[in-house]
């Protein structure tokens, strides 16, 4: 005999927002989404509902009712993800848990309740745990999916005894049968307000008037027709374990264990065509202490030799003390990694992005990932903002690199002050002193005026000059500000080739 538990979250998106922003507890807010050119309320908080706001109203009307109403965008995808996560969490109660619509869960609990000491404590336990997490729920247990669904939403009883579903359904409205809107409207028009009015009517006339769906729904609710749920499948973490017969203490043994585990995890990753971004190696010591080392990679990888190389310098930091009896290797962060790639790369020996990525991983592992930088152009005139960091090795520039303006091959991280002799008002200097040496300016280009980007930063305008001194040294100087307004200062900002 089957038993099902249906859990209904009457205000799921509101509960989700309250968990994210607890300070909204007693305020009026709604989630809304555009529909036919206007914002429509999708869900309203308790305080808003008390003042007459309900789902399906236009947001403009609600604003008239409550001027201080706060508005949140409806996020159906995030809400669905959360529901999926709760369904995965429910696997602690039963092996097959499924999401049910956008605001409900359906658990197949056949053979589980006795482990919690009976159906009543079992259902109580589920409700208490989910309510403690901050969700408003209604739950019901019954023999069929249809009956549990109906009772959770339309009745206050919680547990329908086996084979009592017809009795439980009789006083409920037809909406409890999970029917389409137009069928419900038709039933309402005919004055059939309760299920008991419907079930008395012979099946052939119901079928003629309302179609096969109504009959099928009734049969499902009563248990005369099979119905199935699609249980959620939790993603299995990539993990590998290696117990040792005797506790091991030597670096060689640890390295061998690590090698075995990495090869195993790479095989697992290969099957799922994924690559790991982060990897944690743990050693459980016999005195209860856990030793762990971890690595991360710049791009997804499942190359065993490369991963071992990344781990190698850290093996020495493991303290085996009296010995390690169990090793585990986990890959908490993984990414999609195609399988065709490797063959392709192996064929072309040169300019192999994968090999470079592995080299950069090794460098990042030693010196930190902040040391490695790759730049892309950015559309700004301010020199330091004209480049941005690339996120990955494969990222290509969105805009062209500019070549129309002279830019120095060396740019000082911070401009350095210089003393100058300069004819006023807008000429390049004739002489300047940089690092104690006097440079006589022979040739000059400029000025190139670069204004501050006021939406990013305030400050003085810069007039840049390209300067060549008598020895051929080429400098990029600038004057910060104008003569006539304050006392402008001169700086060296770079060197040309």
């Amino acid at each position: 005999m089957k038993r099902y538990v249906s859990i209904w979250f009457p205000n799921f998106s509101i509960d989700r927002l309250l968990r994210l922003y607890p300070h909204l507890q007693h305020t009026a807010f709604v989630t809304a989404a555009p529909e036919k050119g206007k914002m429509m309320v999708k869900a309203a908080s308790e305080a808003a509902r008390q003042k007459g706001v309900y789902a399906g109203m236009a947001v403009a009307d609600c604003r008239a009712l409550i001027p201080t109403l706060r508005l949140f965008e409806d996020e159906p995808q995030q809400t669905a993800n959360l529901l999926h996560k709760i369904a995965e969490w429910c696997i602690r109660f039963t092996p097959s848990a499924a999401t049910d619509g956008a605001d409900g869960l359906m658990l197949d609990v056949s053979g589980c309740p006795h482990l919690w000491g009976g159906e009543q404590p079992y259902l109580q336990n589920i409700c208490t745990k989910i309510r403690a997490a901050g969700y408003n729920i209604r739950a019901a247990m019954a023999d069929t999916i249809g009956c549990a669904w109906a009772v959770a939403r339309f009745s206050h009883t919680e547990n329908i005894a086996p084979a009592m579903q017809l009795h439980a359904l009789l006083p409920l409205p037809p909406a409890a049968l999970r029917l389409e809107t137009h069928t419900l409207q038709k039933l309402h028009k005919l004055g059939l307000h309760q299920i008991k009015n419907i079930v008395q009517i012979p099946a052939y006339s119901l079928k003629r008037r309302f179609g096969e769906t109504l009959l099928s729904r009734i049969r499902q609710a009563l248990g005369q027709e099979e119905e199935y749920i699609q249980p959620v499948q939790p993603e299995e973490p990539f993990q590998s374990r290696l117990p040792c017969l005797e506790p091991v203490r030597t670096a060689t043994a640890i390295e061998m264990a690590l090698k075995t585990l990495i090869e195993d995890i790479c095989r697992q990753l290969h099957k799922k065509s994924r690559g790991l971004r982060k990897c944690v190696f743990k050693g459980y010591r016999i005195d209860g202490n856990i030793q762990q080392i971890s690595i991360s990679t710049g791009s997804a990888s499942r190359n065993a030799t490369h991963l071992l190389k990344l781990f190698e310098p850290r093996i020495a930091t493991i303290e085996p003390a009296l010995g390690i009896e169990l090793f585990t290797l986990q890959a908490p962060i993984t990414e999609e990694l195609g399988s065709g790639q490797e063959a392709l790369w192996a064929a072309s020996s040169h300019n192999n992005i994968k090999e470079v990525a592995e080299l950069l991983d090794r460098i990042a592992n030693r010196a930190g990932s902040n040391a490695i930088k790759r730049y892309l152009p950015q559309q700004h005139y301010w020199p330091t903002r004209s480049i941005k960091m690339a996120a990955s090795l494969n990222e290509n520039p969105q805009t062209e690199w500019r070549t129309d303006l002279p830019r120095p091959v060396h740019l000082l991280p911070a401009p350095e002050r210089i003393d100058v002799t300069v004819p006023l008002p807008d000429y390049p200097p004739m002489l300047f002193r940089y690092k104690g040496r006097l440079h006589k300016v022979i040739k000059a280009d400029g000025p190139e005026r670069i204004e501050q980007e006021w939406w990013l930063q305030n400050g003085l305008v810069r007039d840049y000059y390209c300067i060549e001194d008598e020895e051929g040294g080429r400098f990029w100087l600038f004057r910060s500000g104008h003569y006539g307004a304050g006392d402008p200062q001169w700086f060296v900002h770079g060197f040309f080739a």
């Binding site: 460098i363 930088k373 730049y375 004209s386 080739a497």
Partner: protein, 244 residues
């Protein structure tokens, strides 16, 4: 035939043999690219050597900028548009957009900034071992002979071209690198027009193994080296040559 002629012929053959044995194997026996033809007379077999380590020395900040500019100009001939190069330096000084002015794509460079000398050398050696890179540029101050030997062995195996730029070294000690260059900026030619002209350098090849040290005055015009004067061989004392 005179016996002396025969002797010179024999000596010439022997010299060729020595060069063949002592120069590192080149990955492919094709002539050096058109952009580098100016320099090829200085090198053995008249090819600009790749898959080896070149050493550059600079003292002033202007010289250092000129050297990096010259390196970028060399890379223009050595690199393909899809090649990846690594630029390893203690601090960020090179301004990537300027590399575009030397005909390179700045996004094909990966910059690694390592203030610690030990890390920098380790990274340099590791990256020179990686044959997926076309060129690795390392900026560091001091390098011992043993260290340079390690770098040279790494490139001979992988075929990557290594460029070491030493700014203000404590001592210009002998290294196992194939060449030693010194680049100084020269006043640009403007033909009495106002403004600053194209980059112009005094390029000194002060040391080259089995080759002839030379000096050129070079301008960088429209992504090409442009020679101002004819090359003249500098007189290099015998002991300097031996060190190479």
């Amino acid at each position: 035939m005179k016996p002396e002629n025969k002797k010179y012929e024999l000596l010439g053959h022997l010299q060729q043999e020595i060069i063949r044995l002592s120069t590192p194997k080149q990955p492919q026996q094709q002539p050096s690219s058109a952009g580098l033809r100016i320099f090829q007379t200085a090198f053995p077999n008249h090819r600009f050597p790749t898959a080896t380590v070149h050493e550059f020395i600079s003292h002033q900040p202007q010289e250092s900028a000129a050297t990096n500019g010259f390196i970028a100009a060399l890379l223009h001939s050595l690199c393909q548009p899809q090649s990846i190069c690594l630029w390893i330096s203690p601090s960020p000084l090179v301004f990537p957009p300027a590399l575009k002015l030397f005909g390179l794509h700045p996004h094909q460079f990966v910059f690694v900034h390592l203030p610690n000398k030990k890390d920098l050398f380790w990274t340099l050696e590791e990256s020179l071992k990686c044959n997926a890179l076309t060129c690795v540029i390392g900026e560091l101050k001091n390098l011992s002979f043993t260290e340079s030997r390690r770098l040279q062995l790494a490139v001979e195996k992988s075929g990557t071209t290594g460029i070491i730029h030493r700014h203000r070294p404590l001592q210009e000690n002998t290294l196992a690198c194939l060449t030693r260059w010194r680049i100084q900026p020269l006043p640009s030619e403007t033909a009495n027009m106002p403004g600053v002209g194209f980059p112009k350098w005094n390029v000194q090849l002060t040391k080259v193994r089995n080759g002839r040290p030379q000096q050129w005055e070079i301008e960088w015009v429209n992504n090409r080296f442009h020679q101002i004067n004819k090359p003249h061989h500098t007189v290099i004392s015998m002991d300097t040559r031996k060190t190479g």
